[in-house]
């Protein structure tokens, strides 16, 4: 890694936390092999705003999310069209390095995926080693990240214990802390609470609300109440039979839930299908 980046990270450590980046999907379409699963998605995800992606299973929410930090291309048969802009720069262009794109746009997965053989502290700091960065005070970074993820008080006395011993909800917050430790501008979350109990879910929702002014957050969720509690912007995805998924409607969360323009949106948010 180059020297300027190291300086940058040290500077980011000293300065107040980043206020997030603006992420914008422009006419994004996706294919798996010959099958088109997503068509013409335009969504602007603003800084300081939590964007929720909702819709029935299989309509392409995860696929869209994975195009936003270039995880989509890890599937061998996957292709895409359109572009994704981070603060106005195309993340699929030659201007940004792939690893830099993924560092700046973090991701929390549906299934918690800490590195089980590493200790809790090593998990949080794993991104540093992976991205070849150095910080002056590693312990401080571990503590700050765990605090921001709302996990510090529960693990402060066992930072050296293996991460595999944490509960599901704790593991998920550890994954959030791990993502935050590399100071991302955007955090993508794919149904982060779907495998968790109600208490852990509430803790993560609180975490999201605390983080929202520091990082741009995009969350996929099947839980309508959760979308209303945590998000300010909401996009409804739907795929008709044998057709690719599309965004049917998007707007302020309030309006999507109280006064949707499209009858299909109304049906979905009121639990009449999906």
């Amino acid at each position: 890694m180059t020297v300027p980046e190291v300086d940058q990270s040290v500077a980011a450590e000293a300065a107040p936390a980043p206020v997030g980046g603006v992420l914008e999907g422009v006419q994004v379409s996706c294919w798996f092999g010959a099958r088109k699963v997503l068509e013409g998605v335009d969504i602007k995800m603003d800084a300081g705003v939590v964007t929720a992606l909702i819709g029935p299973s299989g309509c392409g929410k995860s696929t869209f999310l994975r195009t936003l930090n270039r995880m989509h291309e890890l599937v061998p048969i996957a292709t895409l069209a359109g572009s994704v802009l981070l603060d106005g720069h195309d993340i699929y262009g030659a201007g940004l390095r792939l690893t830099e794109v993924r560092r700046r746009i973090g991701m929390v997965f549906q299934k918690p995926n800490p590195f089980p053989a590493m200790t809790i502290a090593d998990n949080v700091a794993a991104g540093l080693r992976l991205t070849g960065r150095k910080v002056r005070d590693r312990d401080d970074l571990v503590e700050t990240s765990l605090r921001r993820a709302g996990l510090w008080n529960e693990v402060r006395n066992r930072l050296g214990a293996p991460a595999g011993g944490l509960s599901g909800g704790q593991q998920q917050r550890l994954c959030i802390a791990r993502s935050l430790a590399v100071s991302p501008d955007v955090l993508l979350m794919d149904e982060p609470c779907s495998a968790l109990d109600p208490t852990s879910t509430r803790r993560i929702e609180e975490t999201i609300l605390e983080l929202k002014d520091q990082v741009t957050i995009v969350i996929v969720t099947h839980n309508m109440q959760q979308a209303q509690r945590v998000s300010q912007h909401c996009a409804f995805f739907l795929a008709a039979e044998d057709e690719p998924g599309r965004v049917i409607e998007q707007g302020p969360t309030e309006q999507i839930f109280s006064d949707p323009h499209d009858p299909r949106t109304a049906d979905y948010v009121n639990g009449r299908f999906g």
């Binding site: 930090n69 794109v101 993924r102 973090g106 997965f109 590195f115 089980p116 991104g127």
Partner: protein, 334 residues
């Protein structure tokens, strides 16, 4: 907790719990007939293996007894091999030394190459050639060692001769490893050929294990901005540690017992010397193969003793490997 029979009498088989249950109770379960049958079947298989190993060990021990009684402790320290001489004088020291050195050379070459090849096939090779590379490696694992030995003797060793001679000319005098009066039939070359034999099977096993690394953990590493190498070092290698040890042990087993390569390559010499590039050496396996024809009564027994020593060493190394595997954090993962 008491169940009551139809007539109101107590017919429970629920054990009486003490006032405070402080001791764990005994657990019992009634198995189905099918379960019992398969358990017996599988146990019989495991038992056969154990009996076989014990029988082999006993056979070697009884065969080796006369020789061991004659030589006593000097069996471990003597270099020369003249069991049918007058007086008999023999020991495994030189053979063991040669076995360890050639095996060490072989493993030092095999393990890095096998791990790199496995990682290349799994993580770097273009998808189109991955399948063919995998089958190629598996195919190479099936080539008889005789082919490798002949190829090594007539192609690789002559090819390397100028390089080895150059290395000796450059470094002799201050690096005992590189001193040699003549090169070619050395322990180093034997180890090299053994490595060629061990690489395919070791690679095949390690590749298979590394391919099982959990994909969602790999994605977690990449999503943090990790490079491919970062993902390999933080997820794939820790996950595959026990598999790498296991695959290497199979390779090492092959290296310790390899007879043909050592017999063909080595210029026979019963001695211990650090000059591994120099002609001359002997291993237990090649020693047994070479001395077998001319062995008389005590000679045969002495060869059995050498075999027993190799048997025990192999056993010990595998036990050690099992310990390493069980101790590793990857082995402890849920």
């Amino acid at each position: 907790m008491r169940t009551t029979g139809p007539e109101g009498s107590v017919t429970s088989d629920v054990p009486e719990a003490g006032p405070r249950a402080e001791e764990p109770r005994k657990l019992e379960a009634r198995l189905t007939d099918a379960d019992r049958f398969y358990r017996a079947f599988v146990a019989a298989g495991a038992g056969t293996t154990l009996v076989l190993i014990t029988l082999i060990g006993l056979f070697l021990l009884t065969g080796a007894w006369p020789a061991l009684k004659t030589s006593g402790f000097s069996f471990l320290t003597t270099l020369t091999w003249a069991p049918d001489g007058e007086p008999p004088k023999f020991g495994v020291a030189a053979m063991m030394f040669g076995t360890f050195v050639s095996a060490a050379v072989a493993m030092l070459i095999t393990v890095p190459i096998a791990v790199c090849t496995a990682l290349f096939i799994n993580e770097y090779a273009p998808r189109a050639v991955r399948r063919s590379l995998t089958s190629l490696v598996d195919l190479m694992a099936a080539i008889p060692s005789l082919i490798f030995a002949i190829w090594g003797l007539f192609f690789l060793v002559p090819l390397l001769a100028p390089i080895e001679d150059w290395a000796v000319a450059q470094f002799h005098g201050w690096l005992p490893l590189a001193e040699a009066s003549a090169t070619g039939g050395s322990l180093f070359n034997a180890g090299l050929i053994i490595a060629c034999m061990a690489i395919p099977i070791t690679t095949s096993i390690i590749r298979e294990v590394l391919a099982q690394a959990p994909r969602h953990e790999c994605e977690g590493a990449l999503a943090l901005g990790g490079t491919r190498w970062g993902m390999i070092s933080s997820v794939i290698l820790p996950f595959g540690r026990s598999g790498i040890v296991g695959g290497s042990m199979l390779g090492l087993g092959r290296a310790l017992g390899e007879t043909l390569a050592a017999t063909l390559i080595l210029s026979i010499a019963f001695e211990i010397k650090p000059r591994i590039l120099e002609n001359g050496g002997i291993t237990v396996a090649s020693g047994i193969a070479i001395e077998f024809r001319d062995a008389q009564e005590l000679g045969l027994s002495a060869l059995m003793a050498a075999g027993l020593a190799l048997f025990l060493v192999t056993f010990a190394i595998n036990l050690l490997a099992a310990l390493v595997v069980n101790r590793s954090p990857a082995g402890a993962r849920a």
